[in-house]
């Protein structure tokens, strides 16, 4: 099976090459037989990549340590679940995983478009085949997971302990699903540019894929934050690490696209912009992988430097040049007869929303690259850490939050004064009340204050929109409001799913603002010692050490401290934090010690304990962090994912959904008055 897998990779590369060649040729020559052959070649590529993946999984599960990858990332005593997830624990395996997802996505795209978008499909298939060729060639020639060692070690090195975590088992696949998901819209964009069919057809084909990519990217990012929080032990969930930033970049651009696509659908505007966003999301996904693999920028996530980085750099440059050429030579075809009736309109709000989202993406990219720019210009190495990113991005984030509240309140085409008054009155009043309440409660941090006020504005906007929609159904159909609520969402999933996403964003922002009340304490405790500290809410917490214990379990040696915790004299139970030294099957240490954080969480705050060091037999150095509102980050992330699912969920009545999807606001005769409707 392993040999079959190895050979399958090469066959897959040949198949993809054939697929790319005949797909483009079929499209150019308008030969249906060639197009069909190309599509079949891509289905065959999928079969070959699946075989290769099964080959690698077989090697991992049978502990075939003659294979370098297996020996490098697993050991005989590694729990089975992590032996399976070790597939994407190292570079070559994760590249194969990427190719696997891409070939699955490609097959789904070909299958779902077998009777649709036929003019575009040869070029879509050809573009996807080219991307597959790149990944398969990189795997076969640059980083082959089936590479064999000259000898067979008795045991493998094992998987990095920090990757032995449920979050890490599912976080990378989600990110990959998101990253790779941007390939499909990119392929459609290239196809549309090549064929000059730049109307709404290609956009309709890619919206759901862009949403899918956004959904998985969101889930991947939030899971990554959770993993960093519970596993790395530094006390937070986002460190502005270059690789974290790299995952944020396509997410931001994709989010901008999901907003601007509505403007093109409704008004036929922003054609160039939408193509640019789709292409940028894909290129930024590749850029993220380039950062991870090349070692150009220092990151806790970086694998060792490898020649694969250069492959990605070359692919990135070629992709940029090709797409820049295609866009620049088709500017005429991308021209739209945009007309704007008012600066105060949903279209204008969406444009500013896009500006902020792309502005944040730029600032994150700029901050990530600034160390090498500075070194190139001045020869000085500098560090661009959280203080820089917070300084730059907090104001931009607050602006975005404000626009999230304002945008849905403004009507398409033109908002009258009466409409604005009616729409804004309640949300603004709620925001002002929230601000005053926060001040009264002692929130004096400006960013936190604005965050809560703007968050209240967004929530009020959402509630108002739901209230109006439910009332409309109640009046139209006589439905009870309880029945009207789910039906309202079901009838317009895009709009109300989007509001659920907005709600998730508010919750996440509220949790971020809670960081203003974070407190950290560095304590040294011997067995029986206790220390008292006070959190941001004024509660007195006592930490009493029960001493250090040392024991062996599974594939690790554990040093643990147990702390009796009381809050204002009332017992809060025991918190345990560990340091783990992982060992191979012969008991030899495999990695540096890793941290197992002790967390006692509530919706108000987490008490986060890290065993930082041991002194003598029972002395311990611990860090206690009071992290406010952390659970709200996970809750907000879940809400965003649920909202994304609602938006993506296929409509039961396909025809109606299609009609709704195609709805475009027709130009109205000059002078005709339109009531102030707020529509999605």
């Amino acid at each position: 099976m392993i040999l079959v897998g190895e050979l399958s990779l090469w066959v897959a590369l040949l198949m993809a090459t054939w697929g790319a060649t005949v797909s483009f040729a079929g499209g150019q020559l308008r030969r249906a037989d060639l197009v069909e052959s190309g599509e079949r070649a891509l289905y065959a590529t999928l079969a070959m990549v699946i075989l290769a993946s099964l080959g690698l999984w077989t090697a991992l599960l049978t502990h075939d340590f003659s294979i370098k990858y297996v020996a490098s990332f697993t050991s005989a005593n590694l729990p089975k679940v992590y032996t399976i997830t070790a597939f994407w624990g190292g570079q070559s395996g994760s590249l194969l995983f990427w190719a696997l997802i891409l070939s699955i996505y490609t097959a789904i795209t070909l299958w779902t478009n077998r009777t649709r978008n036929r003019e575009l499909m040869p070029y879509v298939a050809g573009t996807l085949a080219l991307i597959l060729i790149f990944f398969l060639a990189t795997i076969c020639l640059g980083s082959n997971p089936f590479e064999r060692l000259d000898f067979i070690p008795a045991d493998g090195r094992g998987l990095n302990p920090q990757l032995q975590n449920p979050g890490m088992a599912i976080h990378p696949p989600n990110l990959y699903l998101g990253y790779v998901g941007t390939s499909i819209p990119f392929a459609f964009a290239i196809a549309a540019l090549l064929t000059r069919r730049l109307d709404a057809e290609w956009l309709a084909a890619v919206r759901r894929w862009a949403l899918l990519a956004w959904f998985f990217n969101t889930v991947g990012i939030v899971l990554g934050m959770w993993w960093a929080y519970v596993e790395l032990g530094w006390g937070g969930y986002w460190a502005w690490d270059p690789v974290e930033n790299a995952s944020l970049l396509p997410w931001l651009v994709n989010t901008a696209f999901l907003h601007s696509i509505m403007v093109q659908e409704k008004r036929g505007m922003l054609r160039k912009w939408n193509v640019t966003l789709v292409v940028s999301a894909f290129l930024l996904s590749i850029f993220g992988t380039f950062i991870t693999r090349s070692g150009v920028i220092s990151s806790v996530h970086s694998f060792a430097q490898s020649p694969v980085g250069k492959w990605f750099a070359a692919f990135l440059i070629v992709s940029i040049v090709v797409t820049a050429y295609l866009v620049s030579t088709r500017l005429h075809d991308l021209r739209s007869n945009a007309e704007l009736e008012s600066m105060v309109s949903r279209e204008a709000a969406f444009l500013y929303n896009n500006l902020i989202l792309v502005g944040i993406a730029f600032s994150v990219l700029w901050g990530t690259l600034f160390p090498i720019i500075s070194e190139a210009v001045r020869g000085n190495k500098i560090t661009v850490g959280p203080p820089f990113f917070n300084t730059v991005n907090i104001p931009l984030g607050l602006l975005l939050l404000l626009l999230t509240g304002i945008g849905p309140l403004i009507a398409w085409r033109r908002a009258s004064i009466a409409n604005l008054k009616r729409q804004f009155l309640t949300p603004v009043a709620v925001a002002a009340t929230a601000g005053i309440l926060c001040l009264a409660l002692g929130v004096h941090n400006l960013a936190a204050l604005l965050s809560y006020s703007f968050g209240a504005l967004v929530v009020a906007t959402i509630v108002q929109e739901f209230y109006k929609g439910i009332n409309a159904r109640h009046k139209m159909y006589g439905e009870s409001r309880i029945v009207a609520f789910p039906r309202l969402i079901a009838r317009n999933r895009r709009r109300y799913g989007g509001y659920i996403v907005h709600l998730g964003v508010v919750v996440v922002f509220a949790a971020f603002a809670g960081l203003a009340f974070k407190r950290e304490f560095d304590l040294t405790l011997s067995a029986g010692d206790s220390k008292v500290v006070t959190d941001a809410w004024g509660h007195r917490w006592t930490f009493l050490s029960q001493g250090i214990s040392r024991y062996n379990v599974l594939n690790r040696e554990v040093t643990a401290i147990a702390l009796d915790v009381t809050r204002d004299g009332k017992s809060e139970g025991v918190i345990t934090s560990e340091k783990r030294q992982h060992v191979d099957s012969r008991g030899a240490p495999t990695f540096e010690p890793s941290t197992e954080v002790g967390i006692k969480g509530s919706f108000k705050q987490d008490v986060y304990v890290v065993l930082a060091g041991v002194r003598g037999a029972d002395g311990a150095e611990i860090r206690v962090t009071f992290n406010p509102l952390v659970r709200w980050v996970w809750l907000g992330g879940a809400l965003m994912a649920i909202g994304g699912l609602v938006v993506m969920w296929p409509a039961a009545d396909r025809q109606r959904a299609q009609a709704g999807y195609a709805a475009v606001l027709k130009p109205r005769p000059v002078g005709e008055r339109v009531p102030d409707l707020v529509g999605a």
């Binding site: 500013y352 730029f362 560090t383 540096e592 930082a612 109606r656 709805a663 409707l677």
Partner: protein, 194 residues
């Protein structure tokens, strides 16, 4: 843009890229999940100053911890000194840097003086964020400049689009606003029809 124009532009960009300093190509040290790559012997450099006359501790422990949040641990972990020394069992660099900070604090030196002392020994990379002066200002201001330019472009674009729109005729005074109920009904009807 014509094909020929594009083809001419690409070599020009390539030439520009080739003239960009070669330092860019040099990869920085890489941190892996295996813990810090460097130990104290390799990267730690003492930062010591003679104590000020009659020196007393210049700050509280909490203030010192805040100060250590501004210093970048040199073990390669991307964390600040405080977080690294209270997180990473294996790091020998952050405890050494912490000891230097404590020495300077007890020697009567203030936060800015301590940061300057570290900067003079390790260079600017020891700060978690670059100082807001000189070329670094480009780093801090560029996102806002880009946003301002973008906002100006968007506004200009919107104005151009607006100028293309037909001029609306003044609403006859006999019109009255639709009631909430009428609007809700119309809203629902529009949604139903997509």
């Amino acid at each position: 843009m014509k094909r020929r124009e594009f083809l001419l532009a690409v070599p020009a960009l390539g030439l520009g890229a080739a003239m960009f300093p070669r330092r860019l190509a040099g990869a920085q040290a890489v941190q892996t999940f295996n813990g810090p790559m460097a130990d104290a012997n390799e990267v730690y450099r003492p930062v010591t100053l003679a104590a000020k006359p009659g020196a007393q501790a210049s700050m509280s422990d909490a203030q010192r911890d805040d100060l250590e949040h501004k210093l970048h641990c040199q073990c390669g972990c991307n964390l600040d000194v405080y977080t690294c020394r209270t997180t990473d069992f294996a790091c020998s660099v952050s405890p050494a840097m912490h000891a230097d900070v404590m020495g300077l604090v007890s020697g009567g030196y203030g936060a800015e003086e301590i940061l300057a002392a570290f900067k003079s020994v390790y260079g600017e990379k020891v700060l978690m964020a670059p100082g807001k002066s000189g070329f670094n200002l480009v780093g801090y201001t560029m996102p806002f400049v880009a946003l301002a330019v973008g906002a100006a472009m968007v506004t200009a674009l919107l104005k151009r689009w607006k100028s293309r729109a037909p001029v609306a005729v003044t609403t006859p005074s006999s019109y009255t606003d639709a009631s909430e109920g009428e609007l809700a009904a119309l809203d629902a009807a529009v949604r139903r029809d997509g």
